[in-house]
Amino acid sequence: MSYIDEGARKGILGWLLTTDHKRIGILYLVSMVALFFVAVTLGVLMRIEQLTLNPPMFSPKTYNAFFTVHGVIMIFMFVIPGLSTVFGNFLLPIMIGARDVSFPRLNLLSWYLFIAGTLIVIASLFTGKGAPDTGWTFYAPYSLQSGTNVALGVFGVFVMGFSSILTGLNFITTIHRLRAPGMTWYRMPLFAWSLYGTAWIQVLATPIVGITLLLVIAERIFGIGVFDPTKGGDPLLYQHLFWMYSHPAVYIMILPAMGAITEIIPTFAHKTIFGYRYIAYSSLAIAFLGSLVWGHHMFTSGMSEISNLVFSLLTFLVAVPSAIKVFNWTATLYKGSIEVKPPMLYALTFIFLFSIGGLTGLMQGALAVNSQVHDTYFIVGHFHYVMFGGTVMGFFAALLYWFPKMSGKTYNEKIADWALAPIFVGFNMLYFSMLVLGYMGMPRRYYTHLPQYHTGHIIASIGAFILASGVVLFFGNFVVALFKGKKAEQNPWGGVTLEWRVPTPPPLENFSEIPTITERPYIFNPEASQ
């Protein structure tokens, strides 16, 4: 009996009150995909707005609400929790040979907090004086003055922060306490390492944004003045505190995606991972250095010259561990017998798109360039390359890789391959145009544009439609598979980590007997790599 058929309780309650890490992973998956679609729709609506010059399709206020809600959902409800709560929950205990996480009930509570936060944010759209319009960054002083329902929206994000902290705490404890006998640190799969690095950032960085958001609420309700210039407060300090969390948060987004890619590449190259320890350490190095670079979001906001220089230098440094990973992946491919199945195809796309995102990030790390492109579409293009081309593409690859294991069904590989065509073409039409438009001077968060940017906007909007249809095809494939898919084998891809040694889908207790680990991961049959 698999975890799908057998639970502590029957029926829907068996899912809503489950403490099984696999079922909780599925709960997250379903809620997040739904939210993702809402946010994609908002993205497409924004692109529709930019199709016409005059008159605008939606009012400027509506556009402001669109990008705020789009950003908040994508960031706080999809890419920050995304991979660690869905795949981390489902796979971490299995990968390290445990029956569940350390605190199963806390794990369920995390999901409920996530849902509560989501509902509060949704409530903020329809109550009070209208949906928040500050952008996902809630910058003071505007977030203190805006007449819209900022306090409630911010509170929802605060609640989700709790969920994130508890998940991180749970994973750290799980990894420390529940590894199977013989599963030493260096025998852990690299996905687990990346979750470990991520969990530490979640635990250490999230409280800072928590207090910052609480202060925004206190400002709006009581007017305490700490960010309000008319009372001697300094909005710049808001930015500091916000980015002290939110920059590390971008590594919360990307690390688990990198971890998933690190699992996929050796499996389809049939070759052990190149530089295991370097990849593991680079996760920790990214977690550490990533906590020191928040100032690069603020180069133009009036920090001292010295701070600018230091933050710029650190920003260049943080590229090193990321590049180490990219080199290790390519070195793993070298002389491997590469089999381009859908997960691999998406993983390779990840490397390509993420590299563009990373390199444009470096451009902005240089002070001179930054002062030109700050707050333009160049930034918007850049972060979609890293977050969509990176994290979301990693999410897609992970879903393709682990879906058969999680659901027990196989999907249509041809359609999965074909869905990448519109995704890839549409993606680059949309976001490369944004890079170009930004370079030409198109500012971000404007509901309309000057005539000279019109061609670029048209191309971008067409790209958005193509991209969105690709995304629909991609997920549609899984929905069909759930109902009509053939039964999946235990190990369809020839993976060697523990999750491939348990039945598909995994049984309730994961292992009938806890395995004893005797060797490092990623040892493939030597014949297979001929």
Partner: protein, 210 residues
């Protein structure tokens, strides 16, 4: 799949308890609490460097006597929590119950003092956005903004601690926490110590800043 008898007791049976893990989780949680206040401490140091005179003056408006009384109250309450854990370890349930009740009472006294203190200041018109404060220089407004945020957030933590310890008290009374299984109480005690330690920092930063 028909599985043979599991080698490890199944976790869902709730028979399996990992005390070390529980403690590790609790310490991680305490880190996050410290960092939560850390954000306020960062703001405090930035603004204190900017408005040293006003912070000095602002501190003079606070009631040092109540501040110090509350410090003694909280320190004593930390002691009683520690004693209650020691008592349960020795199997002395009665004393554990007495000590825990003592802690909860002391926590409540702290909050009452806080109430008296705040209402005094509010009567003098020293509260965020008050007409009196709005006429004063910016540094003063920031000082009181921070004063209320920091002591307010701390007060919420005292309240959370009291609730947590009340649950523990109920568990001790119902013999759910015993000499062989007192991990929960120990973790709750850790939380209470944290609340205490944070106050130890708030006292000099706010009251003794003058």
């Amino acid at each position: 799949m028909n599985s043979p008898v599991p080698a490890q007791p199944p976790i869902h049976a709730e028979s399996h308890k990992d005390y070390e893990g529980g403690k590790l989780g609790m310490w991680l949680f305490l880190f996050t609490e410290i960092l939560l206040f850390g954000g306020l401490f960062i703001l405090y140091s930035a603004y204190r460097a900017r408005y040293p005179l006003e912070f000095h003056e602002g501190g003079q408006h606070l009631n040092v006597i109540i501040g110090i009384t509350n410090t003694v109250v909280l320190l004593t309450s930390s002691l009683t929590v520690a004693l209650s854990i020691g008592a349960i370890r020795r199997g002395n349930r009665r004393m554990a119950i007495q000590c825990l009740s003592g802690t909860i009472t002391l926590g409540a006294i702290f909050l009452v003092n806080k109430y008296i203190e705040w209402s005094g200041e509010i009567r003098h018109g020293l509260y965020p956005n008050s007409p009196i404060l709005r006429k004063r220089p910016p540094g003063d407004q920031i000082f009181f903004g921070l004063y209320y945020s920091m002591t307010g957030l701390h007060g919420l933590h005292v309240l959370a601690g009291i609730s947590l310890l009340s649950v523990m008290l109920a568990l001790v009374i119902r013999k759910k926490i015993t000499r062989d299984d007192f991990n929960k109480l120990e973790n709750a005690g850790l939380y209470w110590h944290l609340v205490d330690v944070i106050w130890i920092f708030l006292l000099p930063l706010l009251y003794l800043a003058a």
